[in-house]
Amino acid sequence: MAGIAAERYTGASIKRSEDPRILTGSGRYVDDIKLPGMLHAAFVRSPLAHARVLSVDVSAARDLPGVVAAFTGAELEAMTVPGPDVLMALLGGGGPTPEFTLLATDKVRFAGDPVAVVIAESRYLAEDGCELVDVEYDDLPPVANASFALDPSSPPLFANLGDNIVGPRSRSEFGDVAATFAHADRVIDFRIGVHRHQNVPMEGRGCVASYDAGLGVMTVYAATQSVHVSRIAVAMRLGIEQDKVHVLAGDVGGSFGLKIGASREELAVAAASRAIGRPVKWVEDRGENLTASGQAREESFDVLAAVSSAGDLLGLDVKVVIDTGSYPGMGTMVPAIMEAMLPGPYKLAALGFESTAVTTNKASYVAYRGPWASETFVRERVLDLIAKDLGLDPLEIRLRNVAPRTDPPAAMITGRPLVGVTTRESLERLAQLVDFPAFRRRQAEARARGRYLGIGLATFIEAAPGPRSPEGPSGPMGMESMRLRLEEDGVVVLFTGQMPHGQSHQTTLAQIAADEFGVPFEQVRVVVGDTDVVPFGLTGGSRSATMTGGVALHGARQLRAKVLDFASHLMEASAQDLQITDGHVWVRGDPASAIAVGEVARRAASGQFGADVDANLEVEAAFDGGEGGWSGGSHCAIVEVDVETGMVTVQRYVVAEDCGALINPAVVDGQIRGGVAQGIGAVLLERSAYDEDGNCQSATLMDYLVPTACDIPRIEIEHLQTVPLDADVNFRGVGEGGMIVAPPTVVNAIEDALSPFGVRIYEQHLPPARILELIAAADSGQ
C-alpha cells in the first residue's frame, strides 16, 4: 500500500458512468417497461379550443375486440379526487386555484384536452377505440390570447373564477420609483413580447401504473424530475395514503421542466389501472407532446426605463401579463421570480413591478429551463435599446451599470446581496476573447459589400442556489438530504432524491463522494428513482450542483468519520490516526496496516461488537446550501443576416461564465451548450403557435422546429475564476443559464446586424419571414 496517491476526481472531466448503457441501447426508459398483463392507454382529445361537452359515448369503443375498458371524464372523476395543479397545491401560487378534473367533464379548455381514455391490449387497439368514441360539443368563443382574456367580456374558462384572471394584478415597488422617474433625464417606454416556447424533450411524458389490490399499493414507473413529487400527486388525486404509492424511475429522456410530478394523463392512467386491476402503460406521442403536454413563456411587458443622459439605468417600471394557458399551475408562480430577478447584476435604484396572469384556451403553462428568463430578455434588450438611443456601445453601457463588487456587497434593489458576482469580469473577458474593435472593422467592410454582420452580448445571474439568506437554507426548495452507506463489497452507495434526466448525477455525485470518502470513483454507486429508498428531492432550478453536490460532500465526510470510528475499534488505533485513501483504511504512516473498506464493512456486519460500538455504517446527511452564491456569465454572439432571405446564421458564440467550482467540466460545458442551443432555437426557429380560434399550429416537428447540428455553431466557453464563498461547497448550478441568456444575446446581435436599416426589435421570435418584415417596416419608416 506504499505511496497511496490522492487522486482528485472533482474538477476532472471523468467519463460518465451512465454512458456504457446509453451507448449500447441498454438504458431503461419508461417505454421499455413491460409488465405481465400490461394494457395500453390512449386518450380521446378535444378538437376544439373551448366548448361545452354535451355528451361522451364510449360504448362502441368498449365493444371493440381488444379494448378492455374506456372511461369518460365523468366516470374518471367519480374514481378520483378533484384538485388544483399539484405544484400549485404544494408551493402556492398567490392567486385563485381552480380545481379541475383529470379528464374534461363539463367543458374542454384547449385543443388537445383529454375527454376520455381507452384501455386496450395494445396501443394500436387503444387508438382504434378512441376513433369510436363519440363526443358532442357545443362551441364557446375561444379565449385565444391574453388581451381577450383580460377583457371582462371573455367567457371564463373556469366558471367559479368569474373571469380569466388567475394571478390577479399586483404591484410592488422597490426604492423610490416616483422620485427616480421624476428626476431622470429621460424616460423611455417599450413594449416587449416573448412568444410561446416548448420543452420538447426527445422522450415525451409517460408512465406505467400497476395497482396491487391485495396490498393496496399503487406502483408507478414514471418519467419524472422527482419520484416524490409524482408520489404526492398520485396519492392526492387517487385519494390514497402516500405510503401506499410507490414511484420508480429509470432513465429519463430529457425534460427541461416538463416532467415535474405527474400530469393529468398520468394520474388518469393510474386511476384506470386501479379500476381494472391490471398494469396500464401510456407514453405520449409527439402530437400529444406538442399540443397537450404544456408550453412556456408568452409574456408581454410594458416597460418604462428611467435613464440618465450618460447612460445610467436608474429605474424600471414593468408591467407583465403572462399567458398561463388553460389549467393554471406554474405560470402563476413565475412573475414573483421575475420581479426578484429583474435588477440582475445592475445597480438599479428603483423598480416598479406589476403582474397579471391570465388563463387562455391553449396548452397549460409548464416550467421550462429558467422559467423566469424573460426578465433577463427584457433587461438585456432594454439596455441595448437605450444604448442605441444614447449612442453608447452595448459593452460600455453594461460596464457602466454593473454593480461594483464591494464589501459589504451591494444588494439588488429587490433585496438579495450581489455577493461574489463576477459580471464585470465576464464582460471584460468577453471583450478580450472577441476583440470588439476588430469585429467593428470587419462589420464595416462586410456592409460595404452588402453583407450584414452583427454582434450581440447579454449577461445574467441566476440564484443557483443564491446567496445565503438570514431566513434559512439557500434556494426556494429548502434543505437537501442524502443517505450514504458503506456496503460489504466496499462500495459507497449514495441514495439521492435527485432524478437525473441528462444531468449526469450518477457521475458527478460519485466524483465528489469518492474524493471525500477516499475510494476510487468506480467504488461509488448513486441510487436514484425509488420512493421507498431515496429521500425527498427534485431535479430542477439548477439546484443539484450546490445542494446535492454539497450534501454528497458533507455526507461522505460524515460516513468517513463513522467508518473511521468503527475501524478504530477494529484496528486498535485512535480514529484521529486513521485515514482512508484508495479504498483502504490505514494507520497514518503505516501502509502495512491497510484494510480494505469492504473488509471493515464486513466486520461491522458480523455482529461481533457490543452495543457500545456503532457498527451501522450508514448516515443520513442534510445540507442547507452553505454560503450559497450566484451563477452567472456573459455571452456574445456574432451573426450574419441575409437581408434577401431573412436567414440568420450564428457565426460565432462565446461564453464567459462563472458557475463556481466545476465538478466535471465536460458535464458543465454540455449543460451550457445545450441551454444555448435551446436559446438559439427559441429565437430563430421555435414557436408554439395558435391561430385565432385556438388551434395549435405547431403539432409536428415539421412545424415546431428544433435546432439541428447545422443550426448550432461551436460554442466557445471560458470559465472564470470564481469567488469562493463557502469553506467546502462552491459548486453552483449551471443547468438553466444558457437558455436564460442566449435569447437576448442572439436578438441583440440580429438588431446590431440590421442597424443600417434602423430596425428596432421588441420581440424574441425572429424566423426569416419576420426578419424580412422588420426590414421592410423600417424601410418604409413605420
Binding site: 451507448l23 426527445m202 447540428a709
Partner: protein, 157 residues
Amino acid sequence: MKVDITLRINGATCTGSPEARKTLADFLRDDLNLTGTHVGCEHGVCGACTVIVDGRTVRSCLMLAVQAAGCEVTTIEGLAPDGELGTLQQAMWDSHSFQCGFCTPGFVMQATAFLRAHPDADEQQIREALSGNICRCTGYQSIIDGVLLAAERARQS
C-alpha cells in the same frame, strides 16, 4: 391481419407475425424486446428510431415490419454484442457526447452508417449527415466531436 415474416436481425435469423400495420420500430421493441431503438416522433423527423436495413439507414417508425421481411437489420444492440464498445461508441464516451441518452441509439446508427461510407468526412459533412437526428440536450458539439474522434482513430488503426 398478421403476417409471418422472416428476417435477419443483428446477424441472427428471426421470425415473427406482426400485424400488417405494425411499424418496424414497434416490432423490434414490442415483439423482439430490442428496446434500444427509441421512438421519438413517429413522423420521421427526429431520427431516434434509426436502424440500418440492408446497409442503409432507415427511420424504423416509417417502415412497416412486413417491409423488412427478408432484410438484414442492424440495431443498436448489434453494435456491441459482446459488451465491448465499438470505436464510435468508445469515442462518443470519451467525448461526453450525450446527456439524457434518448436520441443516442439513432445518432450512433446514423453515424455508424455514415462513417462506413465516408471515413474521411470533415466536420461540416458530419453535421449535415447528422442533421436529420435531433438531440435536445447537447447543442450537438460533443456528438460531432465524438464522430470526428472515431473517424480519426479508425484512420490511425
